[in-house]
Amino acid sequence: MTTFDAGDVTLEKVREYVWEIPQEGEMRTPARVLASEALLEEISEDKTLQQLKNTTHLPGITKHAICMPDGHQGYGFPVGGVGALDAENGCISPGAVGYDINCGVRMMKTNLTYDELQGREEELVDSLFANVPSGLGGGGIVEAGVDTVDEILARGVDWALEHGHAVEDDLLHCEDEGTREGADPSKVSQKAKDRGKNQIGSLGSGNHFLEVQRVTDVFDDEVGEAFGLEEDQIVVLIHCGSRGLGHQTCNDYLRKIEQQHKGLLDRLPDKELAAAPAGSQLAEDYYAAMNAAINFAWVNRQLIMHRTRQVFERVFDRSWEAMEMDLLYDVAHNIAKKETHTVDGTERELYVHRKGATRAFPAGHPEVPKAYRDVGQPVIIPGSMGAGSYVLRGGENSMERTFGSTAHGAGRLMSRTQAKNEYWGGDVKQELEDQQQIYVKAQSGATVAEEAPGVYKDVDEVVRVSDELGIGDRVARTFPVCNIKG
């Protein structure tokens, strides 16, 4: 048997790109890492594998805890982690969803070509930067009272439609049509709402960004056509989440679990894995609050997308409808959803936690929007600001191998402090512009250094492994043209 020695942990090779950490001690199941040897070398350099092992201690964990090819150390659960926990006898874990509930990515198409945009990059990046709130304390597109926040939490993108920030077609191209069922604003604290009300329609900072990109390759013509993607086309990618409202909601419930379910918490190896037992009042309350925060994040990305349409209208002096600025899809990569999966021949209800992982349902799955049901759901994988991003489609092996999931990005390789020692924001920005014609504008030079292309894993390799495993198949690659961030 081929093994991989990662210091304290030895992994056994199950098949190409599938590595298993055998069950031992308090682990309830084995754990699996989906990676090439090159990626596994990187994954084993920090505490990712230990954190993955820790997640198998959660009650109700089913089959195995899984680390995606872009996995890296997080807090509690590793980033790139997928854990399916039994919805009747297991639990739900706010820490395994993460602070930024429904952090995710959406891609909007246009009918512009790269040729039409060249020469206008600076004007476009300046206008986007001036009109899309970013950074800390930058406000939001909508300034709202708590009543409005409650409506957004309850209704999601349907609220945006009513208030002129969306069109019907946007809802049809969003998971759950942009409204998560079972969202209850009364389960979200006043503190969370107070933080959220000034941040509706804002990018935030860290690794969040808005990027104008050009399609460089379409690998699968049939699916590319179904998605409406062709080479040289301009698209817009938006990456952000539920802002302070989501962060506060996660912390509020971590603390409630600590106070009400201390017995379970004491049995877990990391306090950040705090989980509420399935069926408990707190599990129900958290699920309702998380669903509300999911709606908030969808509205956040929707407002930014709609504002981007208006910016393009001004820069290109055409209506956004004429530029066919339509939503391709919106994917969440910090989320827990109650889903039905077949496990050993039996249908089971599971809370599928995806933390830094993307749902990747294949063709034919009833939860894939009608527009894509014949080909599988689009999966959007952003790379760093100096590398390509990818559009995949849910692969036919995803249900069996990963509870319908794949990677969510390139995955960090280098710490933020190390990045700031190695790079200077001004140099990174200038090099991207001079060498790759990528125009970057950020609130903070430090953010540019921390997000320099060299701090990320090789997104091409991450996507290659996803494609080879059949969990998410390559459809198209895009490359940055303009990037704004906090």
Partner: protein
């Protein structure tokens, strides 16, 4: 009292020391400010009070840092020069903290967002001649 920012793949760790419990709390809070902003101005901004109560020392540290992040968002200021005047309590009852911070308006600094305090790897320890703490923040 002092703090140090520590490497973490995606996030940021703050290791802090202090002679008294109050000192180590304030040092972690200053570490949070330093993780948010490379160049904190020596003056400017108004001082405001911070009060927190929790069921244990660790929970009090968590809630204190959570409160600072909350106040940052709702007051739109970066809390710096953190002072913890007093911590009282026992694990049988309640722990209480009284302190203050100087709030620099966010539009006056080049600051980035720290999303949240985490319990991951959190350590708060009496080491005999003082206190040590380690906290990971989500960036």
């Amino acid at each position: 009292m002092s703090f140090e920012l520590r490497d973490h793949t995606a996030d940021v760790g703050v290791a802090a020391t202090g002679e008294r419990l109050e000192d180590v709390f304030a040092a972690v809070a200053d570490g949070l400010a330093a993780a948010s902003c490379d160049a904190i101005p020596d003056d400017g901004g108004d001082r405001f009070a911070v009060s927190v109560a929790a069921e244990s020392r660790e929970a009090l540290l968590f809630d204190y840092l959570d409160e600072l992040i909350y106040l940052r968002d709702v007051r739109t200021v970066l809390p710096v020069d953190n002072r913890v005047e007093q911590i009282d309590g026992s694990d049988d009852g309640e722990w209480r903290l009284e302190g203050s911070a100087r709030g620099i308006p966010l539009d006056a600094v080049d600051a980035r967002e720290i999303k949240a305090v985490t319990y991951s790897e959190m350590r708060l320890e009496d080491v005999g001649d003082g206190w040590e703490a380690y906290v990971v923040f989500d960036v």
